[in-house]
């Protein structure tokens, strides 16, 4: 995945893009993101007009509808401050996918400008703010699912670095870690059989490693794996990276 040159970070003001999945289902992951960013001294703005990054229609092939939503997002986040997203997938939509569907559009430049300011949460903390370790404590073995849309980006390594630095956290590896969880946005509903088969394989690999908690930086992956585990009666505790970071802070002396 092409990774654009980043706009340098000036000051501590950031804009949170909560993502539509957090808006609808995973409110606590977004809340944890706010607490984590504020702990780092960031002044977190939340543009109220935000909706979605535009990815559902982009993946579904309705680029015209997607571009309408991307344009709305570009307007909503036009302030000159980094946009931090607790999702590798939505971040990749803004710095890669959107540019693809705007290739022949007159306002490609504005879309690319937003892309250069957009950061996935772990990437922002580690590579944007230069944080190399996380304070606090959490007694847990953690399996980190690196979501597919962070391939070729620094996000996966950043998340592993942060998690591994928390006192008490033990990172555990699991089989076929590079394989997709089967979510894939509209793929999950267009191809329910294949999607569920992929998810169940992932679940079995994760559960075989017996982690206390499965962690991902993407609520899409977590929704797929938790939803499958609940249906299949498999015991799975799943958390967003931001929730783990926040919970560790709570144990800071």
């Amino acid at each position: 995945m092409a990774f654009p040159g980043r706009t340098p970070i000036v000051g501590r003001r950031v804009q949170l893009m909560a993502t539509c999945l957090c808006d609808a289902f995973h409110d606590d992951a977004a809340a944890a993101t706010v607490e984590v960013l504020e702990h780092l001294g960031c002044e977190v703005a939340f543009p109220e007009g935000q909706t979605c990054c535009g990815q559902p229609a982009f993946n579904a092939g309705d680029w015209e509808a997607s571009r309408r939503v991307v344009r709305h997002t570009v307007r909503t986040f036009s302030a000159a401050a980094p946009v931090v997203v607790p999702s590798g997938s939505c971040a990749a939509m803004l710095f890669h996918g959107a540019a693809l569907e705007f290739e022949k559009e007159g306002d490609l430049g504005e879309v690319e400008e937003l892309g250069r300011r957009t950061w996935e949460l772990a990437d922002f903390i580690v590579n944007g703010l230069g944080v190399r370790s996380w304070p606090g404590r959490l007694e847990a073995s953690v399996a980190l699912h690196r979501s597919c849309h962070t391939r070729g980006t620094p996000s996966g390594d950043a998340a592993a670095l942060l998690l591994g630095s928390i006192a008490g956290v033990r990172l555990v590896e699991f089989g076929e870690g590079e394989q997709c969880c089967g979510f894939g946005g509209t793929f999950s509903v267009g191809f329910p059989n294949i999607s569920a088969a992929m998810g169940n394989l992932k679940l079995d690999h994760v559960l075989a490693a017996k982690p206390d908690v499965l962690v991902s930086g993407d609520t899409g992956c977590l929704m797929q794996l938790s939803g499958l585990a609940a249906r299949e009666g498999k015991p799975l505790r799943a958390m967003h990276l931001a929730q783990v970071l926040r919970d560790a802070l709570a144990a800071t002396p």
Binding site: F25, Q50, P56, H72, Q179, C180, G190, A196, M223
Partner: protein
């Protein structure tokens, strides 16, 4: 609920076949990764270099093709151009007819599958026998290949032993050594009786006119040694600029395709046998096949023409592993096939416009591609093309209503509040097919629409 054809195919696949495909592709992928990363400090640099070279060829086919023709002709080969599958079959047939040939031995070539050569020749009284073990088994079973490199990845050895027994190749014995020995015994006589040999070409070098054919069984070499006429079927995108480039490409192809440092047999063919050479074909024909490739070239997905047919993207693809190659309804399965097959149909694109949908866009195919093709981007472009052309896509939610909400913040917030009704409706009554499809396999988490915004407002007060 209507399902995508590839999802239906996956659901219908037997557990035995799925296991064979899954295990075969997983082993191939894992061995490849070890080999590449053990041998090279930065394999990704090699992949991008190879990608640049092939992209350069693709962008300059108009000059490379005449240059290759001139070289080949100077080397003593005859060059033919076939714009369609039919024309390619006719070209092979007319060469064979001129020699009165009725028995052809074939080394593995995907182009021959693509143009339906075997059936075409059979109808005209010519036997075209596959000599690659996998392709031989496919032919014996009246089956079709389900993988570019491992045509019988969907079969296990019990099924092959039974097939051999049914066809009089020997009593049931599923030991791999026995299977190979029986095929070898059967094929040896066929080489000696053949009138002509047909191969593909992995690469054709522009500067030298050298054809390169790689096999692991030596069957291409047998084909060439035993016959006096060599016909090579070559896709027009198979060109490399210089002989030097082969160092890079042979290393990448062997590692990516079969997780080998080098394929066992590498044929470098510079022309027909020279005067005074006792063995080898006295006649050499190279048939360059378009068959839809210029349609691909004219599209915004021309990068796919870099493909060197290694199959690495199939092996790593989670969808291919679940669905198997036959689900893709054509010669090229997996991620590369999902791009190539619909485009090669030209005007009939819509017949396979569902293939690009069969991907979670996980990007694993791009990560392993030896010529660095950004396959997910191409799949997305084809989804856009299908949508613009109005091709129906079962299971894809309509995006108009969603976009209407997502561009109107007040309506969006109202929908966040209203979504709560989902918690109180049984799945079967939810008026949104996408949610029913979700709930066919998974639980939907409790609706928390707007809760984060409320929390933030409280915190800020």
């Amino acid at each position: 609920m209507k399902l995508q054809p590839i999802d239906q195919a996956a659901a219908a696949l037997s557990a035995e076949t799925r296991a064979a495909v899954y295990d075969g592709s997983k082993v191939g992928h894992e061995k490849r990764t070890r080999l590449l990363f053990d041998h090279y400090a930065d394999p990704d640099r090699l992949r991008s270099l190879a990608g640049e070279i092939k992209q350069h060829v693709v962008e300059n086919l108009d000059t490379y093709l005449p240059a290759v023709e001139a070289r080949l002709t100077a080397n003593g080969a005859r060059v033919h151009w076939a714009s369609t599958a039919e024309a390619a079959c006719e070209a092979v047939h007319s060469i064979l007819r001129a020699r009165g040939a009725t028995k052809l031995v074939k080394s593995k070539t995907m182009v021959s599958e693509e143009i339906g050569l075997e059936a075409y020749l059979r109808e005209r009284g010519i036997e075209a026998l596959e000599t690659d073990l996998g392709e031989f088994i496919v032919q014996l079973d009246h089956d079709t290949p389900s993988h570019i490199i491992k045509p019988i990845i969907h079969k296990n050895r019990r099924q092959i032993a039974e097939l051999f027994e049914r066809n009089g190749l020997g009593a049931y014995d599923d030991a791999p050594a026995a299977i190979t020995r029986r095929a070898r015994q059967y094929l040896r006589h066929k080489y000696l009786a053949a009138d002509a040999a047909l191969t593909g070409a992995n690469f054709v070098v522009a500067e030298s006119g050298r054809l390169v054919v790689v096999t692991n069984e030596g069957n291409a070499r047998f084909c060439l040694a035993a016959t006096r006429c060599h016909i090579a079927l070559v896709g027009i995108e198979k060109i490399l600029p210089t002989d030097r480039d082969l160092a890079l490409f042979l290393n990448l192809l062997a590692r990516s395709g079969t997780a080998q440092q080098l394929t066992v047999y590498n044929e470098f063919i510079l022309g027909p046998s020279a005067a005074g050479q006792p063995d080898g074909p006295e006649e050499m024909h190279v048939i360059f096949v378009d068959n839809g490739r210029t349609d691909v070239l004219a599209s915004d997905c021309r990068d796919i023409l870099r493909c060197i047919r290694c199959g690495a993207c199939l092996n790593v693809c989670p969808v291919y592993r679940q669905a198997g190659g036959h689900a893709y309804r054509g010669v090229y399965p997996g991620p590369v096939g999902a791009v190539l097959s619909p485009l090669m149909l030209g005007e009939r694109f819509s017949e396979k416009a569902d293939l690009p949908k069969a991907s979670s866009l996980c990007g694993a195919c791009h990560e392993v591609c030896p010529v660095d093709i950004a396959i997910p981007d191409l799949l997305l472009r084809l989804r856009d093309k299908a949508h613009r052309e109005g091709v129906p896509s079962p299971g894809t939610p309509p995006m108009g209503p969603w976009a209407a909400l997502a561009t109107r913040p007040a309506a969006w917030r109202a929908a966040l509040a209203g979504g709560r009704i989902l918690d109180h409706l049984p799945a079967s009554l939810v008026p949104i097919p996408a949610i029913r499809a979700w709930e066919s396999k998974r639980e939907l988490p409790p609706w928390r629409g707007g809760e984060f915004r409320k929390w933030l407002k409280m915190r800020r007060q």
